[in-house]
Every structure is written in C-alpha cells, then in structure tokens.
C-alpha cells in the first residue's frame, strides 16, 4: 500500500520523468533525423515542467498584479522557461535547415544510410 501511495503522491514527477526520458530515448535510438529533432523537442519541452512545478503555489494566481488577489505563483521560472522555449525553437529551426541541406546533399535523412554510404568514400 505504501508503495502505491508513494507512486500516486509523486504522480506528476513520474510523468515528467517519463516524458524527458522518452524524448532522450528517441534522440539517441532513432536514426531518422527529423524524428531525432522531434525527440529533442520533447526532451526540452518536458524539462520546462521541472522548472514550472516548483514555482506553483497552491491557491495562487498567475503573477499579474491586481488588487483582487494576494497570492501569486512565482514569476521567475516563467521568465526562464520563456527564454528556454525560444532557445529551443531556434535550435530546432537550425536543425531542420541542416536536415533539408543534408537531404539535398546525400539524398536521405537516415543516419544509417548515410554512414553506410560514407564508408565507401
């Protein structure tokens, strides 16, 4: 019973970790370059939750000051994650541009095929 209770108490942590790990798994395991980038996106996005959850205060509201509320969630993680999202999309955009060029230069976006081809050079 204690184990089940423990799992439920940390349910959101379990999911966040699952999301991060599966993103990372896609990046490392898959040879398709677009899929890798999707995985990279998942990995980065799920990290955001790691920042946002500690800043949440139960009963708080979004950090937009107003005389009607007194408890606000922490604004700092929000700022950090805004920056991180932007950095993430920038990376993905450059990655995709590289994929397009790789496809033009090699005719494929599968790493295995490219490495196979590279060996005869």
């Amino acid at each position: 019973m204690a184990v089940i209770h423990e799992i439920i108490a940390h349910y959101n942590h379990w999911i966040i970790i699952f999301l991060m790990v599966s993103g990372l798994y896609i990046v490392v395991a898959r040879g398709n370059m677009i899929k890798k980038l999707v995985g990279l996106g998942l990995f980065q996005t799920s990290v955001y939750l790691l920042y946002l959850s500690p800043g949440k205060i139960l009963g708080g509201t979004p950090p937009i000051l107003s005389p009607d509320y007194s408890v606000y969630s922490n604004p700092l993680p929000h700022v950090l994650i805004l920056t991180a999202i932007v950095v993430g999309i920038a990376t993905i955009a450059v990655g995709l541009a590289l994929v397009v060029r790789i496809h033009e230069a090699f005719g494929t976006i599968e790493e295995d095929e490219i490495f196979a081809e590279d060996e005869d050079e």
């Binding site: 959101n12 699952f18 991060m20 205060i57 979004p62 000051l65 700092l76 932007v86 950095v87 090699f106």
Partner: protein
C-alpha cells in the same frame, strides 16, 4: 493529472509511429497539452508561447521540412542497448533528484521565498508594470532577454546562410532522387 496522462500517451505514440507526418502532428498536440498544463501551473505567458511556438511555428517548420524531404522513417536497425542505457541512467538520476525536492505547491520553499518575492513586491514601484513576468523578463533579467533575442538572431542568420540561394546541383550525390 489527466493532462499529464494524455501527454504520456502522446509521447508513446510519437515513439511508436513511423509515419513522420503523424509524428509531427502528434508533436503539435503534445505542445497544446503542454500549454494546458502550463495554464494549470499559472504560467499563462509561457502557455501562450508554447502554444504559438510548439504547436504553431515548429509544426509548420517540421511540415515544411517533411515536404522537402520524405515522410517515412525506415525500420530502425539500431542496437537498442546504448539508448536504453542512456535513458535508464538519466531516468534514474532524475528519480534520485526529483523525489527529494521540496513538496509541490508549497509557499515556503526556497524558490518561493528567496528572490521571487522581491519581484512581486517591487514590480509596480520599480517599473509600473503589473505583469511581473514582463517586468522580470524585460528589466530585472533584461540581459537574458537580450541573449534570447540574440539566439533568435543567430538562428535566423544560420538558417538564411544554410538555405538561401539556389540549390547547388553538384554531381556528387549518387543516390539523389529526382524531383517529386
């Protein structure tokens, strides 16, 4: 909780699917769900950004790339040992670290008591801006935002440099496919 479960389900879908088109669309759905989770966590600015970037821009770019390349992943012929090891090791380190974090939603954690109250108390007297996220973003941590804009700038130049101009039709690539 329901949202998080849905997120996990979408992730499984992304891992399993080999039709990249579906993967990209699932990625968009993932971003929308993520944005909803962020609203629950009171991060409205972040949610708005995630929805417009994750589900909007990045999906458009991914689809554009698929259009320029091709939409099927070959069956992975990969050795599964190393990725599994990497994933399990990372997961273990995460479990090790996260489960001892201060409790969720509490107001007396270091995060919520150290620097953040300053912003909440002084945003209006210092900057006259009631949206604290904006004042922190643009003023208190304005240099981060300058850096962030620089990242965008760098990415823009990088993509332009990579993709602008005619395709060089080099004779080199042997297996170049003809135009679709």
């Amino acid at each position: 909780m329901v949202l998080l479960t849905l997120l996990a389900a979408v992730t499984l879908g992304i891992i399993r699917m080999r039709n990249l088109f579906a993967v990209v669309i699932l990625g968009g759905i993932y971003s929308f769900l993520m944005a909803s989770v962020m609203i629950v966590l009171d991060a409205v600015d972040v949610a708005m950004t995630e929805a417009s970037v994750g589900a909007g821009i990045s999906t458009v770019l991914m689809l554009g790339t698929l259009y320029l390349t091709h939409a099927w992943e070959i069956r992975p012929v990969h050795r599964d040992l190393l990725p599994m090891f990497v994933a399990v090791a990372t997961g273990a380190a995460l479990v090790f670290g996260t489960f001892a974090l201060p409790p969720f939603g509490a107001a007396d954690t270091p995060v919520n008591t150290h620097v953040a109250p300053y912003y909440l108390e002084n945003s209006i007297p210092d900057t006259l801006v009631p949206n604290v996220v904006t004042s922190v973003l643009a003023s208190y941590r304005g240099f981060d935002t300058l850096g962030e804009t620089t990242v965008i700038f760098t990415a823009g130049i990088a993509v332009l440099m990579l993709l602008k101009g005619r395709r060089e039709l080099k004779p080199g690539p042997k297996r170049r496919r003809l135009k679709r």
